[in-house]
């Protein structure tokens, strides 16, 4: 079986959907963060697959994927810092309880 672009698309779509489900369904901020990472990786897969199949020479997709990974690392660092502060303050990371900024 040859691996075609479609396989990568399906894989990426599946990963992305799992990610969305995770973000919407989980209550724990840490797990939401994990789900977010899944979505980012789904995007990365798409980028690299398209680059490899559509325009193998210039490798633009790969470059952007590396960029996304970098940004994701920074994001995780920041988000974990926020979550730690949250835990220190409220002894919980349940996002349902974090609604004091509404009005």
């Amino acid at each position: 079986m040859t691996v075609t672009l479609l396989h990568f698309q399906v894989l990426a779509a599946a990963l992305f959907s799992i990610g969305i489900y995770g973000v919407l369904a989980r209550r724990s901020a840490v797990l939401i963060l994990l789900a977010l990472e899944l979505m980012l990786n789904a995007v990365n897969i798409n980028l690299i697959a398209y680059a490899a199949y559509m325009e193998p020479v210039r490798a633009t997709g790969q470059v952007i994927a590396i960029f996304v990974i970098t940004v994701a690392a920074a994001e995780v660092g920041l988000a974990m810092a926020i979550i730690l502060r949250l835990f220190r303050n409220r002894t919980s990371v349940d996002v349902d309880e974090v609604d004091i900024m509404k009005w």
Binding site: D99, K102, W103
Partner: protein, 655 residues
Amino acid sequence: MPETSDSVTSGVQWAWLAPAFCVAAFTVIAVLGRFLPRQGAHLSVLAILGGFVLFWYVLREFLVIGGGIYKVDWFSVGDVTLTWGIVVDELTVVMLGLVTFVALAVQVYSLSYMKDQPGPFGWYFAVHSLFAAAMLTLILADNFLLLYIAWELVGLCSYLLIGFWYERRSAAEAAKKAFVTTRIGDVGLLIGMLLLFNETGTFDIAAIIHVAEQGAISDGTLTAALLLIFLGAMGKSAQFPLHVWLPDAMEGPTPVSALIHAATMVVAGVFLVARVFPLFVLSPDAMLVVAIVGLVTALIAAAMALVMTDLKRVLAYSTISHLGFMMLALGAGGYTAAIFHLVAHAFAKALLFLGAGSVTHGTDKTDIRDMGGLRTKMPLTFITFGIGALALAGIPPLGGFFSKDEILVAVLDGRNPIFFLLTLVAVLMSALYMARVFFLVFYGSLKRDNDGAHESPLLMVLPLAVLAALALTAGLLAPGWTSDYQGFGAWLFYDEPHPYKVNVLVMALSVALAVGGFALGWAMYTRGDAAPETTRGRRRGGQRREQDAYVQHPIPARLQRQFSGLHAIVVNKFYIDDLYQWGIDRVALAFANFMALFDRIVVNDTAVNGTGDSVRRSGRTLRYIETGKVYNYALGMAVGLVVVALIWWLALPYV
């Protein structure tokens, strides 16, 4: 299109220097005046003197070589090129001489008159300079745009000068009235001018006349444009029903009245009609309106001059009346007659106003009821004022006689006999009110509190003497004396020259009415003068009674009793001012109040503040739909993403 006709270079092109001198004087005095000796007043006199000298040069060049139109480009917009240009023709030369001379006389007189008056001395002369500059530009302008700029500047300067003593409420009000009333006319002029521009694509007066004479402008449009332009002339020349500002303009210093009434402001309207006279000739309807307005103005103003008791106001109404004569002459096709009367009247009226200023200077009075018997106290003023009065009344052989004669001939030729008869009535009244003022001020017995009256200083009497000499001799320009000079009409004319000739019937009537009117005035106002009446009144009441001049003179007193209703109407200026006041209070201000209310309630409270309030109110209500739960927002984002994707997917085939 008549272009520059300088096949032979004529020196008349330097005429533009005359207004330039005055602008320079204005600028220097306004900016540096406070550092100069006597606040730079002499600079102003020097500038206008320069203009006057230049006039003689221009006159010589004009007579020897000829005039022309000289212009430089200003800027271009699309197909339209606007120019600064001057036109030098007979009309311009006459006006140039008149304006520079009268302005010079008035400024020399003012040097003395204004010395002990309140107010900034230098500023007074600065505005005088600007006034002269504006007027000179007005008469030199070859296109409507430049003319309009000068026209508005004249209006501004008259505002500044009438309101020179602006701390006095009445002066400020009078200045405002003059400005607003003439503005009504100015709007007419602007619209008329733009209408002609729309038809012809140019502001150049000569070009517009050329186009109109080809018949390229429809009769209706031309008449409308001319009537609008005439509205401007009515405002500036104080024609009925826009005449109300001029008597009030007497609030300014007396020399200003002389300048405004003789040489500048008010003749601008007559000049404007004369400048575009070839257009008026093409529209008989417009001509008829001009004639009717002129006649009505001449009649009602003369009637009011007969009953006013303020010296300067009598002269003001007399001016209005004579401007009416000029307009009437123009409306009857008497182009020459109008301009000649303008010149003759300017000398006489400047003389009379400066004389009135001299009387006021000597007695500190303005009401003719407080005067009388001044001929011994102020002999020079008496003689010169007398000459002015005789000239204006039209007694031969003074200036006013010839010009009035010409007007009568023109009216007889150009209009139906009713016009002629009514003009004769106005002529009679003109002689009568001049006699009234003259005899009431200088004859009769001296009022006791005028014992201290004195002749004015030399600097004030000198312009009086020069103007008197001119008023005496101006009429001599009318007839032809040599084969080269066939009379004023053979030199300044529209269409074809008409050498001076005598119409015996008209002349006899005119002389009879003028002399008769003056004699009647003498009979009415010198006999039965009863100084005892005054003293008796004073003795009895301890305080002087408010009494009319007529009370002292039996004939006018009886007439006034007999026609008390009519007298009341005339003394109250035919209630025209009251009508305007009513219109302003009850119509204009009421409408303004309504609009102010509309603005406050509908525009401000509802539209502007209403928008802000509604946003604030809806925000206050809608903020409760926010939960602050992260997953709500995340769900919203996900749903939104799906919706966008769906729309894109469905719409893509059609893009």
